[in-house]
Assembly symmetry: C2
């Protein structure tokens, strides 16, 4: 069955500790013994049991990642960024999906607990809600963590996000420049703090340009492409004045585009559509998406880097807050 250092020790006629020394390139070992042992280990197909190593060393070389839905390109790209950084630094990843659809506090809470039980050295979290109990719990855990894509006011911690206000400002300014006056803000349900932040920034920008608060309306919608498509269709039908759709993310924007096309609306003239994220496909979509670009993989990479640095320095909170600057990418939909 599974080979342990004991098996090797027996075969090599030495004690287990000698085997350990040989396999870990320690000093104080006779090169001959060492070679002999290494050879036997290879022959037997031995590899160390990291469970035992970690139990002893209290370092698992593992990062927990908690997010909502990997089939969403935005999360997938973040995860990709995290993965590559983690691998480079010698960490593995335990992936946990916090909810399959919508938001579920208990599930997210349990997910975190499970990950912690695995003795991960750190956790990367994309929170899906702002429940104070969750943040309170986070504050008590003894494992370093970094939040992604959320600026938590409730709690002092490290996080990586992008400037959501700037993003919305860019989008609205562009709409205004193009003469749009009746914007639908197609936003993920349930409304999050980030959603409200973006909304407030939109209103602020519109007001600054002399437009009324009524020039933008919130349209809530599940964050799937299908829901965005259907909701946009409904909205455009009910509201012939709407001339711009500001979507929560690119996937929802793509749904909106499809809806507009099917209703025979000209894009961007009848209806301008602006997405968010600039996922890889945005550029290749037809018409190519105008969108607020976040450097998605960079978010993941940066968060992983901060976390690993905290782990290495044995720090629980480093007060590192990175806010990346978004950028408007003007293409064909607005």
């Amino acid at each position: 069955m599974k080979i342990t250092i004991k098996d090797i020790a027996r075969k090599a006629q030495v004690s287990p500790i000698t085997v350990s020394r040989a396999l870990n390139d320690k000093e104080d070992i006779n090169p001959d013994t060492k070679n002999r042992i290494v050879k036997i280990a290879n022959d037997l197909g031995y590899f160390p049991n990291m469970l035992a190593q970690s139990l002893k060393s209290k370092k698992s070389k593992t990062l927990g990642v908690i997010l909502r839905d990997i089939s969403d390109p935005f999360y997938a790209e973040i995860l990709q960024g995290i993965s590559l950084t983690a691998a480079r630094e010698g960490y593995q990843i335990i992936l946990s999906i916090s909810s399959r659809s919508g938001v579920n506090l208990d599930l997210e809470y349990n997910t975190l607990k499970l990950v912690l039980q695995k003795q991960v050295d750190g956790v990367l979290i994309i929170p899906e809600h702002e429940d104070p109990r969750y943040f309170a719990y986070l504050q008590k855990i003894h494992t370093p963590f970094v939040l992604l894509n959320r600026v938590p006011k409730e709690i002092q911690c490290d996080y990586v996000s992008t400037d959501q206000q700037e993003g919305s400002r860019l989008a609205m300014s562009h709409f205004i420049k193009k003469g749009k006056k009746h914007i639908a803000y197609l936003v993920r349900r349930p409304l999050s703090g980030v959603a409200l932040t973006r909304m407030a920034a939109c209103e602020k920008t519109l007001l600054e340009h002399g437009l009324s608060k009524d020039s933008i309306r919130v349209v809530e919608c599940d964050d799937t492409i299908v829901a965005a498509y259907e909701q946009t269709k409904r909205t455009l039908k009910q509201n012939s004045k709407v001339d711009g759709v500001y979507a929560w993310d690119d996937v929802m924007a793509m749904g909106a585009v499809k809806a507009a096309i099917e209703l025979g609306c000209g894009i961007p003239d009848d209806i301008g559509i602006i997405g968010y994220d600039d996922i890889e496909l945005a550029k290749f979509f037809n018409p190519a998406l105008t969108t607020v670009r976040q450097n998605i993989q960079l978010i993941g990479r940066t968060a992983a880097e901060i976390l690993i640095e905290k782990i290495n320095n044995d720090v629980l909170i480093a007060d590192k807050t990175v806010i990346l600057r978004p950028e408007l990418i003007v293409r064909e939909t607005a």
Copy 2:
């Protein structure tokens, strides 16, 4: 610091094993003691150390997943399927990226080893090559595994895949029906066994319909949307006769569509394009992708289910081979 059962034991004036019993709902424990212990455990914010539990029980309740690139929607959806099934069955996932681009045997090999060291109960692998050494190594490991998306002839094992020949047959038949006679097979580089299988099925179908082997040509390409776009542009420019592109996957098909549009080719009349996979976005792309549908999440779910069943039954090889049937989804590009 981190709380252990010892800490609880001390506080409760009992022995550690009593704590263990209390926390694991065992018989043979005084309900009062139990409640007292559970309360203390909660107060202290205790959670078990799964490293220790696993070391003892030799079950880690963890699955390894090895794949290539999560930012690719196809892999992401597979991973999503795996994740949900694993979570439902009480397993967690260690995710390992086998290579960032292209194919790298050593990396894939090391990735596997690392995952095994973590004592996962099983491994799900989407292999990226057919190196016999890798398969030879797989045959020797004492951990159950399931291969996805590959029909390995080199080795007896469990796998979940789709009928690649049928998929290509469907695509070619459709092209023929539409009068296409000069197909470019836009395929991922480096060429894999699956790629050749699909190619052979294409040729066979064409011959059966009285067309010559020359009616299809292989166009190799990195499997990114950008590369597919560029390669398609090049191909269409050099070869005015090409009237159909059969793409390796939907992402590449989207790149091809963009190229065709930019060259002013009418889709599907001048150029028909057929993708593969039917990722969620395929339907919403403009023009909507005609594609060979695989039920992607089902591949992941099925593989995870087979693996977990093997783990539960303590079986290394169950000889379960599931070949899912693909389906042609005719939309607007062909």
